[in-house]
Amino acid sequence: MNSQVLKSTSINRDAYLTGLLNLVSRVTPPQPSPPAGRGPERVLEGWLEELEGWLEGLRDRSSAILLEETFPSTKDEAWRFTDLSPLLQVTFQLPETSNVASIPSSEITPLIFSEAADSRLVFVNGVYAPQLSSVAGLPVGVFAGNLTALPENYRSSIPNYLGKQHGATEVFTALNTAGLTDAAVVWVSKNQVIETPIHLLFISTLSDSPTISQPRCLVVAETNSQVTLIEDYLTISDWCADKSHPYFVNTVTEIWAQENAQINHSRIQRNSNVAFHIGKTAISQARHSRYTCNAINLGGKISRHNLEVYQTGQETETTLNGLTMIAGEQLADTHSALILNHPHSTSRQLQKNIARDRSHVVFNGRVFVAKAAQLTDAGQLNRNLLLSPKARIDTKPQLEIIADNVKCSHGATVSQLDDEEVFYLQSRGLDKVSAYNLLVDAFAAEILNQIPLNSVGIMLSQCIACRTI
């Protein structure tokens, strides 16, 4: 591994970025997955050709954008508190595609949520694993699968959605697009209410060398539809200490909520502590749509979540719940942006952060209310819990308001656990450690309780419990 670790001083950031670009753009065209549609074989081949041609153009455009960009440093406002130099010290490789086949389904079983047992898509290192996925439990009216298996009636609209969200020129988003060959696609047809939650499982495996994987996800909820999604990033065999090569997960999720659509989206990031995780979630909300995000950040050596909501019609509702809980030497950064351009919308954001040991939490919550967005009601609250003397929090709730007839507020607090609360619990016979854990659990529960799937909530509380003192 030492041969791959270079001194950061000797690394030119631009050269590093170009290196990454060259690596990810060494793509293999998507292979047809097992028959998904009933269409004749040649129709499928025609689609694959068309898709590949279109994707190539998309990749080329992104590569061109990327060549103009520079790798971010702490001198950039958006990366001021998140130093990516540890990333620069690693030379990544593309993961072995054979890994996909080698995962026994027994490894997957414990990761399945009972509510979404037969409505899951599994991607291993960014590559679709049909043998591990199961969509048998999904009703008609919704498609969940990879790009190549997309039903015929949706194919022509793909160019209107994939890679079309705002902020596509941001460095890591462009890097993802530059290597884009396949994506997880969830497409809900008009007027369909999908009660079965859909579980998108993105697994990273550890291998003999540092690897980069770039999962991609596209969600389209057509007019009057409803859907619940669980986007889940994790690592398997992260308990093997000897295989602790760093790996880099660079995700992009594009979500389109059309008129009056309703999306409940939970994003769980529990990569192992050697991972670099950079994720983008970009949402477009049309008139009367409702979007809820529950973003849970637990893993990663350095993790970053860019959550961007763009309003494209009036009277939208947006709820952003976030929980970051890290320890050790972890760094977790959440940058959320809510861009309101139309009147009468409501938004609520609650971001909770817990930092212990020597960990470092960064939060930047931007709310932009344009002149046209009169009668907006936007609320934001950021609460931080610092549990050890060496932990650190940098937070910046940011309001930019041009419309005058609006109600906007934000608040931020940083503190430790209240001594009186701990004392009260001790007076009831709890020992100090249990009292602490109970209070931390309760702090986290406010967010975890928002997740619509019971089993996910239970899994996460266990996750958090095993991380408490």
Binding site: P389, P397, Q398, I402, A403, S409, V414
Partner: protein, 479 residues
């Protein structure tokens, strides 16, 4: 709301006159020679010239900050007059009677009476006209208590040891672009020294006046409060109306030793440009207070109503244990004014406390940003901060932004921040009119209610003035 409110805000700027006075002005431009010339004109000691040259050389290496939320055409630093002073009689002035009567008249017109007999209120004034201090009142009375209150040039001649010790100790010469520029070319300013265990017997005040067009004003204020002392200091500023933009880059340094307390109040009313944004002062100011001693306290109060662009972050560095920093601010922008202002509270010592109350009012097409930093260092056990920033928008072309940075590196600290944005509600106005109160009165009452937390911190005379200033400024803007 109707057009009445709009007409309410558009009060003409009444301090926009120019005083015709013969002045000693050096040619435009900046170079090492200009720095030497300024230093020579002021007969400064050698160390001062070195200080200036060092700053100038640093400045050459620095670039203008681009992060503030303000827009302006690039400034040509070679097109500014760096020194302009009313022509003085060769000998030193013995009393106020010898000050040029035109000057006294000018200050009289501004409402600042420099003749001591006429002064009713208990305020000592240092009047600064363009680049130099023209008069300081009540000097003798202050000297009896051991308080030194004079212009910084005079202090350089008479108390060089104090200047050498403290100048640049709070704001280092290379602190930022404008501070470096100021360190190189500053012309004059006020110097205050309060000896041990002394409570300054009266309010101290400096009045800044820019008169020459195209000249920059670069003043420097240094206040030192020795152990157990207390002082309250006020600052006011106006400038004539010119169509060109003028640069004002000041540096203020405060040092509070053990148990000392400094209260610094500003009513800033530089010319703000006309309603189309033509002319006005660029107010790029670095103000910082150092709570060096234990239990020391520094309190900033500012009412910012003028300037085309304001870029100003009065800060407190809380080094001493149990020290306290406070920041109370009202920033009002109208027409095309832009303000990017706020504070920094740097907690270093144990049990340090800070409070931030910021009220922003933006009307017309203006832009008003609060930018603040609360930093709790790793050793600042038990530090506490409370911040509140409220914005009020008048009209839908105004913009209000908040950029609060909170950085906490100690888990015993407690930080709270809240911010809100609102407008004057129709229902509130209706309530007033139902009680027989006119629209204008209602609005001005609501605004002074909105700003009350800050005005309460101002010394009496200033509070009244500030309240009046706000209602005048807003005249005609609410609609």
């Amino acid at each position: 709301m109707s057009a009445t409110v709009k007409t309410l805000v558009n009060q003409p700027y009444k301090y926009g006159f120019v005083t015709d006075i013969e002045s000693d002005t050096i040619p435009r431009g900046l170079s090492e020679d200009v720095v030497r010339l300024i230093s020579a004109k002021k007969n400064e000691p050698e160390f001062m010239l070195e200080f200036r040259l060092k700053a100038y050389r640093q400045w050459l290496k620095m670039t203008e900050p681009t992060w503030p939320q303000v827009k302006y055409p690039p400034i040509n630093y070679q097109d500014i007059i760096y020194y302009s002073a009313p022509k003085q009689k060769p000998k030193k002035l013995n009393s106020l009677d010898e000050v040029d009567p035109t000057l006294l008249e000018a200050f009289e017109k501004l409402g600042i009476s420099l003749s001591e007999q006429k002064r009713l209120s208990n305020v000592a004034v240092d009047a600064i006209f363009d680049s130099v201090s023209v008069a300081t009142t009540f000097k003798e009375k202050l000297a009896k208590e051991g308080v030194i209150f004079c212009s910084i040039s005079e202090a350089l001649r008479e108390h060089p040891e104090l200047i050498q010790k403290y100048l640049g100790s709070v704001v280092p010469i290379a602190d930022n672009f404008y501070a470096a520029l100021n360190s190189a070319v500053f012309s004059d300013g006020s110097f205050v020294y309060i000896p041990k265990n002394t409570r300054c017997p009266m309010e101290l005040s400096t009045y800044f006046r820019i008169n020459t067009g195209d000249s920059g004003q670069f003043e420097r204020t240094l206040i030192i409060a020795e152990e157990g002392s207390q002082v309250s200091y006020l600052e006011g500023c106006t400038a004539p109306m010119f169509d060109t933009n003028q640069l004002h880059a000041a540096v203020v340094e405060l040092v509070a030793l053990d148990n000392a307390e400094i209260k610094y109040s500003t009513v800033q009313n530089w010319y703000a440009g006309d309603e189309n944004g033509k002319g006005g002062i660029y107010n790029f100011v670095t103000k910082r207070g150092l709570c060096q001693g234990v239990n020391s306290k520094i309190s900033w109060t500012q009412v910012e109503t003028g300037s085309a662009i304001t870029w100003k972050y009065p800060s407190c560095v809380l080094v001493g244990d149990n020290s306290v920093g406070e920041f109370y601010s009202v920033a009002l922008t109208n027409h095309k004014q832009q303000a990017d202002t706020g504070t920094k509270m740097i907690h270093i010592g144990k049990n340090t406390r800070s409070t931030i109350i910021s009220k922003g009012i933006s009307a017309g097409k203006s832009q008003n940003s609060y930018r603040g930093l609360v930093k709790i260092g790793p050793k600042a056990n038990g530090a506490r901060n409370y911040s509140q920033c409220d914005s009020m928008l008048i009209g839908d072309n105004a913009q209000a932004n908040t950029f609060p940075y909170i950085q906490v590196q100690n888990n015993t600290g407690k930080v709270e921040h809240e911010a809100s944005t609102s407008k004057i509600g129709e229902d509130q106005l209706f309530y007033f009119s139902q009680r027989g109160i006119s629209l204008e009165d209602a609005i001005s009452m609501m605004i002074s209610g909105f700003c009350k937390d800050v005005f309460n911190q101002l010394p009496m005379e200033f509070a009244v003035e500030a309240d009046r200033l706000l209602s005048l400024k807003l005249e005609g803007s609410v609609g």
